[in-house]
Amino acid sequence: MMSLASYLIISLVLFIVGLTVMIARKNIVAILLGIELVLNAAALNFVAYSKYVTNNLDGHVFSLFIIVIAAAEAAVGLAIVIRFFQIKETIHIDEATQLRN
């Protein structure tokens, strides 16, 4: 029996996995992947609430927006990563400390 709780559990698992990846992995590309996971967890939440609580298509529309944003974010993020690699010859996240200055 598929209920709202099972969707939320999956969404929670996805979110935690994504967050863990963002915090724990040192590879920038992996972090970007983690971000995608977090975004997907959010999108899944929207859709689940839309199906079980409001019963309309608002959540789906939001999900589509999130996918678009995620695509744009991935494009920008990968561009930054490539530029970062050209400068630092590495994609290790601990080398990216320019925000401190």
Binding site: L19, M22, I23, I31, I93, D94, A96, T97, Q98, L99, R100, N101
Partner: protein
């Protein structure tokens, strides 16, 4: 010609002009401008003589007076009248006084041009001499006490300058300071008296004061518990005592001889000392109202007698004359006190003439012989015949020998004093006034003739010193002038003119001066008719002419009107018969006394048949030589014990209390305040405020530095923790 300001004001403005020119340009003028000073006084004399002529020969215009005023400054607001008038007041007394002052001063100036020739202080002397005279003339012309006080103080300053003119002589400087300070004591009181009158009446003009007395405005007013009239009269008389050198403020006058002799002549005769008598006469109605005439009489008697006793033992020719001035001023004050108004004023005039002549004669002697100690003089009659003649006339006058002016004036005073002391029903103790007066008259005759005999008779000691022993060259130079009489007109003419006016008939129609023994008829008693105590009723609502007004000449309608009830005596209880007998007794008594004084002097110093009394009473002589120890008393007791002790007390207060507690204490308070403020600054402001802010910022910075690691994953963790805490708070 009528009287306007332009023919009155030059009397005192001409000498002022001479003073200004000599003060600034005197050195550039030939003879240091002494001719200019003399000329300016002559101009005063001409204008004064015109006034005198109109008032005196203008047919005895007794009631006429000229009173011109202008408002000096006006600070009135609303109903408060606060204005000061200045003005000129001329009546018979003023006219006579003006002629006397300017005439005597002119002769003194003329004499001084000879006396001060080649003197190093010639220019300075002729700068102050006209200022001195102009101050006196201005004082005589004043119509109010305020301008009188101004001229009074100018005279004080001029006497200071003239006495101390030889600035390098220490004694001269001391004497000038003494004169200045002693008269200042009196001046303080005079100012107090003027202020008292001002407070009561809002005016110090003579006319207003007379009118106020007539209207009884002084009644019921009082100051510090005594009646206002008494207070004001006493203060004004104390001022007069300072200026006229009355006991006990007499100490300055004998020392005033430190100046050049003609300067002494001016101080002793025409100006300065007569100012005190002048103000006493002008304020006579106030003195009567204040009931202090007995005090004036007693002070005058003490001065007259005390100074005469001191004069007996003086050896300096000028000191004898100085003490004789004191004594004669005492007689004037007796005259004021006993109500002998017109005789007191006449004595001012006669004394001015013969005392000026005496001092100029003494100057003539000193300048010729260069010696003023009488024991070293003698036999000068042959060498200075004109001086001898003039001085003998004056000595006869001052001694009260009949037919001379001193007899006329002094014996009227003594006659009135006799009446006052014995016959008018006064307090019997006041009999001391005529007793001291007559005794002083005898002493006057004695010491004046002693001076004459020692100076002009006997053998010439200077002469012998020169030729007998042949001392050093210095001794020759010392007495070289003695061999010939100076025939300089500037020396002898003033002496002879003054000597002529020592004759009695100039002042009184009858030669003896007594009413009962008239010789030339009563009409010639011009002095008695013209001078009388101010009749205060006359001045009620008296009109004032504005400053620019023109006065006509005195009218002539009063020719004989006033003589019948005019006795010259203004005192209490005028009993004609008793007064007359007092005058006859007084005249006889004083002739006897004067001649016996002369006789004793003759026997002592010419015949040498009586030994001078000095050897018999050495103790008393020493007392006299020390001037009754008055100077010692003032210096040792009043100044050293009193004033200096008081000053030490003040100094102790200043150093011990004020300096120590107030000044040093304030410094201590400030030091403590400074310490507290330093602590506040260092600890509160600097350590806590300034450094504390720094430390706080530093600490905050430390935290921020840790947080701001730049590690993106750390930021994620922070983000998550913030989110988590946010959710946590929501849940709670």
């Amino acid at each position: 010609m009528e009287y306007t300001v332009w023919n009155i004001a030059p009397i005192f403005l001409a000498p002022v002009l001479a003073f200004v020119i000599n003060a600034f340009f005197g050195r550039k003028l030939p003879r240091n401008g002494d001719w200019l000073s003399t000329l300016s006084i002559f101009i005063s004399f001409i204008f004064s003589a015109r006034i005198f002529g109109d008032f005196v020969f203008g047919k005895f215009a007794t009631d006429y007076f000229i009173h011109k005023t202008f408002t000096w400054f006006d600070l009135s607001y609303g109903a408060n009248i606060w204005k000061v008038d200045m003005g000129i007041f001329i009546d018979n007394m003023t006219a006579i006084m003006l002629l006397m002052v300017s005439g005597v001063a002119f002769l003194i100036h003329l004499f001084s041009t000879w006396y001060m020739d080649h003197d190093e202080k010639h220019g300075r002397f002729f700068t102050f001499l006209p200022l001195f005279t102009s101050a006196m003339l201005g004082m005589v012309l004043s119509d109010n006490l305020f301008s009188l006080f101004i001229f009074w103080e100018i005279m004080g300053f001029c006497s200071y300058s003239l006495i101390g003119i030889y600035v390098k002589k220490e004694k001269a400087g001391d004497a000038s300071l003494k004169a200045f300070m002693t008269t200042r004591v009196g001046d303080v009181f005079l100012l107090l008296g003027i202020v008292a009158i001002w407070m009561a009446l809002g005016s110090v003009t003579y006319v207003d004061i007379y009118a106020a007395i007539a209207e009884g405005k002084f009644a019921g007013q009082s100051v510090i518990g005594i009646s206002l009239a008494t207070f004001a009269a006493l203060c004004i008389f104390l001022g007069a005592m300072g200026k006229s050198a009355q006991f006990p403020l007499h100490v300055w006058l004998p020392d005033a001889m430190m100046g050049p002799t003609p300067g002494s002549a001016l101080i002793h005769a025409a100006t300065m000392v007569t100012a005190g008598v002048w103000i006493s006469l002008r304020m006579y109605p106030l003195m009567v109202l204040g009931d202090i005439t007995w005090f004036i009489a007693v002070i005058g008697a003490i001065t007259a007698f005390g100074a005469a006793t001191i004069a007996m033992v003086q050896t300096d020719i000028k000191a004898v004359l100085a003490y004789s001035t004191l004594s004669q001023l005492g007689y004037m004050m007796i005259g004021v006190g006993v109500g002998s108004y017109n005789a007191a004023f006449m004595h001012v005039i006669t004394h001015a003439v013969f005392k000026a002549c005496l001092f100029l004669s003494a100057g003539s002697v000193i300048h010729s012989v260069h010696e003023q100690e009488m024991p070293k003089l003698g036999g000068l009659r042959k060498y200075l015949p004109y001086t001898h003649f003039a001085m003998m006339c004056c000595t006869l006058a001052i001694a009260g020998i009949p037919f001379f002016s001193g007899f006329v004036s002094k014996d009227r005073i003594l006659g009135d004093a006799l009446f006052y002391g014995f016959m008018s029903g006064q307090n019997p103790l006041l009999a001391i006034v005529p007793i001291l007066g007559f005794a002083g008259a005898g002493l006057t005759a004695f010491y004046m003739f002693r001076m004459m005999f020692l100076t002009f008779y006997g053998e010439n000691k200077q002469h012998h010193d020169d030729h007998g022993h042949g001392h050093g060259h210095g001794d020759h130079a010392h007495g070289h002038d003695i061999h010939h009489e100076h025939l300089d007109a500037r020396q002898n003419v003033p002496l002879l003119i003054l000597a002529v006016f020592t004759l009695g008939f100039w002042f009184a129609g009858n030669l003896t001066g007594q009413d009962g023994i008239a010789v030339f008829g009563k009409k010639n008693e011009w002095f008695k008719i013209l001078v009388e105590a101010p009749k205060v009723e006359k001045f009620v609502n008296s009109p004032r002419q504005p400053w620019s007004s023109v006065d006509s000449k005195p009218e002539a309608h009063l020719e004989h009107a006033h003589y019948h009830h005019q006795t010259g005596y203004a005192g209490p209880n005028p009993d004609e018969h008793k007064l007359h007998s007092a005058h006859v007794i007084g005249a006889i008594l004083s002739i006897i006394i004067a001649f016996s004084g002369v006789l004793i002097a003759f026997l002592m110093y010419i015949k040498k048949s009586i030994k001078p009394l000095a050897s018999k009473f050495p103790g008393f002589t020493t007392t006299l030589q020390n001037k009754y120890y008055f100077d010692n008393f003032y210096i040792d007791v009043l100044i050293k014990k009193g004033l200096l002790a008081f000053n030490r007390g003040l100094a102790w207060f200043d150093m011990g209390i004020y300096d120590r507690f107030a000044v040093d204490g304030w410094a201590w308070v400030n030091r403590q305040l400074y310490r507290a403020s330093k602590w506040f600054d260092n600890v509160v402001v600097d350590a806590i405020g300034v450094d504390g802010t720094g430390v706080a910022v530093n600490l905050f910075n430390l935290v921020l530095r840790i947080v701001q690691s730049g590690k993106i994953q750390f930021y994620f963790i922070m983000l998550v923790m913030v989110l988590a805490s946010y959710i946590w708070t929501l849940k709670v």
